[in-house]
Amino acid sequence: MKKIFKMALPAAALMAVTAIAVPVKADTLANMERERALLIETLLDGEITPAERQVRIEAAQRRLLDLERMVLRDDKLVGRNTPQVRRAFANYDLTFLVHASAEKNRAIGDTWLSQLGISTQSLMSAKQGRR
């Protein structure tokens, strides 16, 4: 009996570990993308004043900073070969806007626009016309 208990205990312990290790499902990438979309919406919003935009961007930046870190540290995303994950990691500067901007000492809006290929020079040289 004692022997059986000795043998069964490690198996039960391992099963318990497996059961405990099942994480709470939280899609960090979806949360980050939602916050990033809101930040970009704020950047492009023509209805708000520059001061208001600045306040909103700062608030969003703090939230996004944490969300970006959650995505970068999320082991569940490693090797998860879905279109969303592939797209997110294909361009660090575009996905992790706050980190990329802080790393380069640039404003978030500048980083985003430059990643899309829009610069002050390209805007200044643009001509108005019909497509």
Binding site: R62, G79, V85, F96, H99
Partner: protein
């Protein structure tokens, strides 16, 4: 008495032939007790060292293991009987010696049947173990095979992103969180606190004796290496078992030949004592015709 001896030769020969036939064990496989291990995901996730113990423990609990143990003890008892009979034959003579030799052969035949049964059970064990290990290896391979070029590229990008993030972490903190109006978030505070606890636990896990990586020939081995080694050992066991079955076959042939020899010696003795007239040639009868 004679009839019994004559009849004995037939089954002995049949047994000898059965022992030499290679696939009779498979035909009777359905009658044997079984062991049904499952190559589950849980088994794959076990540490390499524990995998073998887990399989051995699972086998020890199976009816097949019990049957092998029973066969072992029966063989032990039968071996003792054979020893007793062998010493009794040396001290006996005449009819009793013939009767004891006959008993000795019958017991040998039963001994071989038991040995054959044990060999069949062991073969079943080995083949089941081999199949399980092959399935485990296949599952492990499938996990590795899932690393398509696209996935490999993704993992590489993720590694680069992480290393870039780690490299810029201090600078980002300084830039974003340096403003006095920006308090550190709850996530950042708790993450830092938890991180030290996580590091302590990771250190404890890596130094835990049960987490020591399996080694082969002094070199650290992967789980696949370990399973392949177990598979090779099992295949070696199967090969040895086949050789042992050949030995049992030869033993059976020898018993059959002994039975024929015993039968023939008894027949010779009986023919010697019989009242059969001796065959006389015409030449020896000439004296009756010549006066």
């Amino acid at each position: 008495m004679n009839i019994k001896r004559y009849l004995f030769i037939g089954p002995s020969l049949a047994l000898a032939l059965a022992m030499t036939a290679p696939n009779t064990a498979l035909a009777k496989a359905a009658d044997l007790p079984s062991w049904r291990p499952v190559a589950s995901e849980k088994l794959i996730k076990l540490p390499a060292n524990y995998l073998k113990k887990s399989l051995d423990h699972d086998f020890a609990q199976s009816p097949l293991s019990g049957a092998i143990q029973d066969a072992d003890s029966e063989i032990g008892l039968k071996g003792q009987t054979l020893e007793d009979l062998a010493s009794a034959i040396q001290q006996a003579d005449g009819e009793l010696a013939v009767e004891l030799r006959h008993q000795f052969l019958a017991q040998k035949r039963e001994f071989i049947t038991l040995m054959k049964r044990k060999a069949d059970l062991r073969q079943r064990h080995m083949l089941t173990k081999q199949r399980t290990l092959e399935k485990l290896l296949k599952k492990l391979g499938r996990e590795k095979g899932a690393m398509t070029p696209a996935r490999v590229q993704l993992v590489s990008q993720q590694e680069k992103a992480r290393s870039r993030f780690q490299g810029s972490l201090a600078k980002v903190d300084l830039t974003v969180l340096s403003a006095p109006t920006v308090p550190e978030s709850r996530y950042a505070q708790e993450y830092a606190g938890n991180m030290s606890a996580v590091e302590a636990l990771v250190a404890a896990i890596s130094s835990h004796p049960m987490n020591v990586r399996a080694q082969m020939a002094g070199q650290p081995a992967t789980k696949a290496d370990f399973i392949r080694q177990m598979l090779a050992d099992t295949q070696a066991g199967v090969a040895i078992l086949e050789q042992e079955q050949n030995i049992i076959g030869y033993m059976a042939k020898l018993v059959a030949l002994d039975a024929m020899a015993l039968s023939e010696s008894v027949m010779d003795a009986e023919l010697g004592d019989s009242d059969l007239p001796s065959v006389s040639s015409p030449a020896s009868a000439v004296k009756y015709f010549v006066n």
